[in-house]
Symmetry: C3
Subunit: 439 residues, 3 copies
Amino acid sequence: MTTSAPHDPKARELFEEMARWPVYDPHSHIDPHRPAARNFDEVLGYHYYTELAHSAGMPADRVAPELTHRKRAENLAEYLDRIDNTVQFSWLLEICRTFHGLTDEKITPKNIGAIYDRADHAADGATWDREVWDKTRLEAVFLTNDFDDPLEGWDTRKYVPCLRTDDLVLKLHEPSTAQRLRSVTGIDVQDFATLRQALAALFERFLMKGARACAISLPPDFIPRRATPKCAVTPVRRALHQMDLRPEEHAEVRSAVFWTLAELCADFRLPFDLMIGPIRNVYPAGVAGGRDLFDRRVSLHDYRELFNHFAGVTFPVSTLSPDAGAELVAYAWIFPNVVPMGHWWYSNIPAYIAADLRARLQAVPKTKLVGYYSDAYKLEFVLPKFNMYRKVLAETLAEDAVRGRGWTLERALELARLVLLENPRRLFGRSDAEASARI
Amino acid sequence: MTTSAPHDPKARELFEEMARWPVYDPHSHIDPHRPAARNFDEVLGYHYYTELAHSAGMPADRVAPELTHRKRAENLAEYLDRIDNTVQFSWLLEICRTFHGLTDEKITPKNIGAIYDRADHAADGATWDREVWDKTRLEAVFLTNDFDDPLEGWDTRKYVPCLRTDDLVLKLHEPSTAQRLRSVTGIDVQDFATLRQALAALFERFLMKGARACAISLPPDFIPRRATPKCAVTPVRRALHQMDLRPEEHAEVRSAVFWTLAELCADFRLPFDLMIGPIRNVYPAGVAGGRDLFDRRVSLHDYRELFNHFAGVTFPVSTLSPDAGAELVAYAWIFPNVVPMGHWWYSNIPAYIAADLRARLQAVPKTKLVGYYSDAYKLEFVLPKFNMYRKVLAETLAEDAVRGRGWTLERALELARLVLLENPRRLFGRSDAEASARI
Amino acid sequence: MTTSAPHDPKARELFEEMARWPVYDPHSHIDPHRPAARNFDEVLGYHYYTELAHSAGMPADRVAPELTHRKRAENLAEYLDRIDNTVQFSWLLEICRTFHGLTDEKITPKNIGAIYDRADHAADGATWDREVWDKTRLEAVFLTNDFDDPLEGWDTRKYVPCLRTDDLVLKLHEPSTAQRLRSVTGIDVQDFATLRQALAALFERFLMKGARACAISLPPDFIPRRATPKCAVTPVRRALHQMDLRPEEHAEVRSAVFWTLAELCADFRLPFDLMIGPIRNVYPAGVAGGRDLFDRRVSLHDYRELFNHFAGVTFPVSTLSPDAGAELVAYAWIFPNVVPMGHWWYSNIPAYIAADLRARLQAVPKTKLVGYYSDAYKLEFVLPKFNMYRKVLAETLAEDAVRGRGWTLERALELARLVLLENPRRLFGRSDAEASARI
């Protein structure tokens, strides 16, 4: 029995069918040059395990980067029993069972050595990548590429580029940002006009390489405002030259760059993924990747001007604070261009997924639901995370649609197929003809 | 099998009994002169369908007012498959089955013509009104009347008047408001004193016509404040004469009128329905009725002065943001005059109803729960919307009360009867003797 | 059949085992000199019953303090049918059945006299205390002691002292606070320096008497800030001498005292219970204990500086607004020193407990979960409140762990044991050796 299959018979039938489908994963942090883990430390190094173990008492230096992979894995294994109740731990167990032949129920200091040995793919990395890909039945996985990523050396139909724009919006005033931008575009970025040229050049380059989305994560106090070049021109120039900026000038720069990116998404017909909520470095003493949190006092009402102005841009939206989920349902119900996308980070546990999913299925047009993305750093996580979602989806459909509304299993599966496959394929425009027509 | 009946046997027993009861509907937008739909476009024209179809890709002009009824219905039918997952669509299907003999599972361009023909009641409107009324077992349905509604030409014991006060509070500065007020009351409204006289005259007129409630919908940034005539007198006069108002003067006017209405509710012993949360026209390019949304950052703490000051006024409260439901439970648990009422608009889907209802049943005195209202524009919607609620109520009682606390079905039904019938009848004072005694 | 046992067979098995365990209750308002109720008015006087009955229409003077105990009980009984749907009423019924031999389903004016007679323990108070303690299988119950409580006259291993600091932080400017502080510590508190000495003396005294926690309840607008003695010294001196304080000086005083208490928790290695959210006296005309509410717009992000600075202090956190529960899950998931504790007051009903508990079990290390506390004023309430929690815990584990993840009942019970017993025992340091080593 896999951990993921639901107990309820109708839900199990639905799940088992879904488990035979390909996986279309529209957001991840996979490195296309090393997609699967080369060793078990790369699995355990996922911030969920280090941060949960640290939260449960593990000193951060037990997983310090200067330690060997094996040592880090051994150290972390000492604390895994403290977090074996979590859903994140269940992903780990499913990885060990599915990909590394584990039959034990636990991962402990006793068996960590054997698991480490079995999961060692230093010597056969590329083969292992293919094996994980195939077992996962992956169809495509989206990347999160820095704007100066060379975008070379992999099949971009499988590992789909996505332009990450956080640095451009939030760190334009840092010297490295402008420098990287000049360097990758060959444009001598000195002011708002040349900045816009450079950003357009980035879009062209990404589109040429098969990019399917632009993406950004935004803090809860960010409010998108229509940029007026007149107001933005001076602060942007000052930012590009690392001159001191007052807080309202920083805000002006962020607004202007963000608005320009939205304009380019409109021009280039690229969806703009908005990932709303994180505050970086709330807990600076945390482990790498485990320092960010949020302030729950956030509202999509702050995004109304953006959604109205860019009626032609699709905005797949993820919100971080679990209690903000109901607002996303309402905004997606009204705005044609707002698409609720997946279940993100602190909202990505079955309790919150189930509540949000049920509401989305009841109140958002089915053609607008982008069910899930893995957010994974290593390929191994795509399958257990998608299985967690497919389980909740199967249970929700069994309860609300099959038993609740008398639907056949076939009809429920049609809806599941839309949510898991057809919607993301369509919304992110997998037709190559269409993609080239865009430029 | 009706779509609405629960699958669980105990819940089904409860539901089937409730389905035999009359419906007491304490809030709607029914037009008493044309309560039931004269054609199927008047059903499909409910903003839920046009806004969801528009959200799913239908251009707004496909349902433009200049088109014929039949054409609009045909156009909308092309998009209904995109929203057939929603609970709103299930109301539509139930209407087609219950009132128009549909046996199909879907409403499509193929069968829309036949449905349209069957639902045509242009020739026998009044008969059709009675038929829908009777099939619904309607006992009473509350209207939402403009303050200058003539209130003539219908049986006000069945179609119960309710004084809507949005325009008075939020649009006093618009020329038409003062003009309408002068015209309907015959009072030459020129200042705060004559305004108060005119408002009192409205209450008297509405009470004479059998009104059972005063109602208002308020934006999330509205904070009721005790009006001091001294501060209000100048801004109110300026508003009545369409002079320019600063933002704080606008706020003063809104406060003063709102507080005066609450005083009149106290004087005339009329419940004051507060519908808290909507922001109008957030999405101006939307279809009619589908442009309003909310900001979830709202709290009933802003209403404390109102609830304290008007201890003698019953405030049936609906909140719009689904995540605000728990606060309403707490405020209704403490304040004797705060009554949680129904499940409104963006909160009116089974996922949110179930969560809110469960909490209300666990923590608010049972005599204070006003279960549901339809908010309908056409009579046909009363039944499927109430059935949706009765289903959730039946499931909640079966789970929490019958299985969870060992109650008999009879005891669970007593509670359901309170919530659905006896509480609204009592709280909105259906005794005619009492009503006349009020004046 | 007890009211509490779950209907589902697996859940029932889990519950029945848990019901055999001792109860470790890390927060209450029990008076150790009169822990159990001496008469039924002391049971019915729990604010839940008076406030719910008042909310349902009972005039506050029906339970006025000048009435006799019996009269108050009789008066309240007239209104209990209006609240017999609530979970709070179910605690009352369980008390009557478990401790007073009631076999009726209701408490009414007819049987209240007999119940009152049976519950009369004026003559055998101490014996009754022991009987309730034993039936509850109480192992320890934490008190909430005023800072000048003599802490004498009871077994502090059973009735564990806890230093309540609300008055010190929020009411330092009131004359009685400084006076009580001088009187109990013998220190001539005149300024920030002597205040700190006095606070340290309080900690020493409480630790000597076996205290296991420091606790405070904080309003939603309180933001902990690192106190700088330089800024605090003048406002603190002014507060101690009852001189007028501007709002920002009040804030400075509160911050300075609160931060000093956190420093002392660090020095003395005492957990600092944070109970976040209540606003006092929102409904002044309410019954005693039934006047406080909250503003849901609150975020733990306001506490980041505190959690970061005092990495060595354990903060068991309770939040009042039910919709804030998901944020607590995230903060406890990241911060090692943030521990989600129980389900408090307006969040303490099964609907909210179930939602919060499910998420905590899925996303917070199991070693950090402090399942429940009674918050009781009389011993009789500990058992029904813990049973309510144990029921939800059993149902959640049966559904999510046993059926959902294939766990054995034994494994589920191990988790329950951690949450109910082992975690609170460990986090609140019941080892007497360790406790004395702290000083």
